[in-house]
Symmetry: C2
Subunit: 203 residues, 2 copies
């Protein structure tokens, strides 16, 4: 997984009043993320059968995770009782695999977004997509925006505004290249033969 | 520390061509961050004596860290040979303690920014402040903007734009409350007696 996919929403949702956050994996323990940082999963799937809010991060590890039948089945069952089931980045492909996006509009990291079309989801180029009790966010950093929107729904605008101030989220990126439609770099990024090593980790 | 302080810049800088990222702590091993996530520090201070780029994250743990003489001394010595010494959030207080901000303009999380004034730094309400080979960023999420600026300086605008696209950083926060001057919540947030539990972790 990509660490920021999880850490962005976590910094918002874990600060909600009464939040009890678990990091869940097929097997608990240290997990090496895509470019090296090790995060610790504190819980196994069986330890958290009925979460209120599910956040599924993405990253290059999404593809092998799609083949983990027990994890996909856990997601399907957990969604049946969750209040919200959400994803960041390619995490939405796992939601799709669990049958959660059937007939729904959804987003993902731009690089794999079209894969949502398989099995009946409707990929859209939006940053955060809310469909009933399912929320999908675009790539990596979009989870921060998603979590603030969810915080507002769950705890009210005043709390969400305070959390935005706590993480001092007053973004001021140096370029306007954060989505595929805007990026000057897009033509070269989109052609695999010229992908930089950084982008190649996403293939 | 606050996990996002480190993970934001990491997701950008670790993807620079040739990057070799180490997570350094006084003692290596698992570290519980302020609201629960455990990150693993892979290196001790002595393992990384001459980093090219230093990123010092902040969080409530900054205050006890100021008393860790060995860590502050490591920072002072590492800065002597670093190309860039940077901080996110209250990490700038550690730079200040190491004598790195003497006479310099600098920023920090808004909640402790005025503390930079001690020992001769000049606190400013800016998101990213570059002074020579020292860069300080405002609270938590500001490290993402800082890292993209540094990526542009080190690897060129094209690479930085590509990295911004890789992390799909096209921010769209639900509120305009991410800095103290903008937040509707600011009057209540700023008075400790009415701070929410979320904000209270910062005291």
């Amino acid at each position: 997984m990509t660490a920021l996919d999880a850490v962005g929403p976590y910094e918002v949702l874990a600060r909600l009043p009464g939040a009890d956050v678990k990091f869940v994996a097929s097997t608990p323990g240290p997990k090496t993320t895509d470019v090296g940082l090790v995060l610790v999963a504190d819980s196994g799937l069986e330890d958290v059968p009925r979460p209120d809010i599910i956040v599924v991060p993405g990253g290059p590890g999404t593809m092998p995770a799609l083949a983990e039948a027990a994890a996909v089945e856990w997601l399907r069952q957990a969604h049946a009782s969750s209040k919200w089931t959400t994803s960041v980045c390619t995490g939405s492909l796992l939601l799709r695999a669990a049958g959660i996006l059937q007939g729904k509009r959804a987003t993902s990291h731009w690089i794999l977004r079209d894969m949502l079309r398989e099995f009946g989801a409707k990929p859209v180029a939006e940053r955060v997509v809310i469909e009933g009790d399912v929320i999908t966010a675009a790539g990596v950093s979009a989870g921060i925006d998603m979590a603030l929107m969810l915080a507002a729904i769950e705890a009210g605008d005043a709390e969400a505004r305070t959390l935005q101030l706590v993480i001092e989220y007053d973004p001021d990126p140096p370029f306007d290249s954060g989505s595929l439609g805007k990026a000057d770099a897009a033509p070269s990024v989109a052609r695999p033969s010229t992908w930089s090593p950084a982008v190649a980790t996403w293939r």
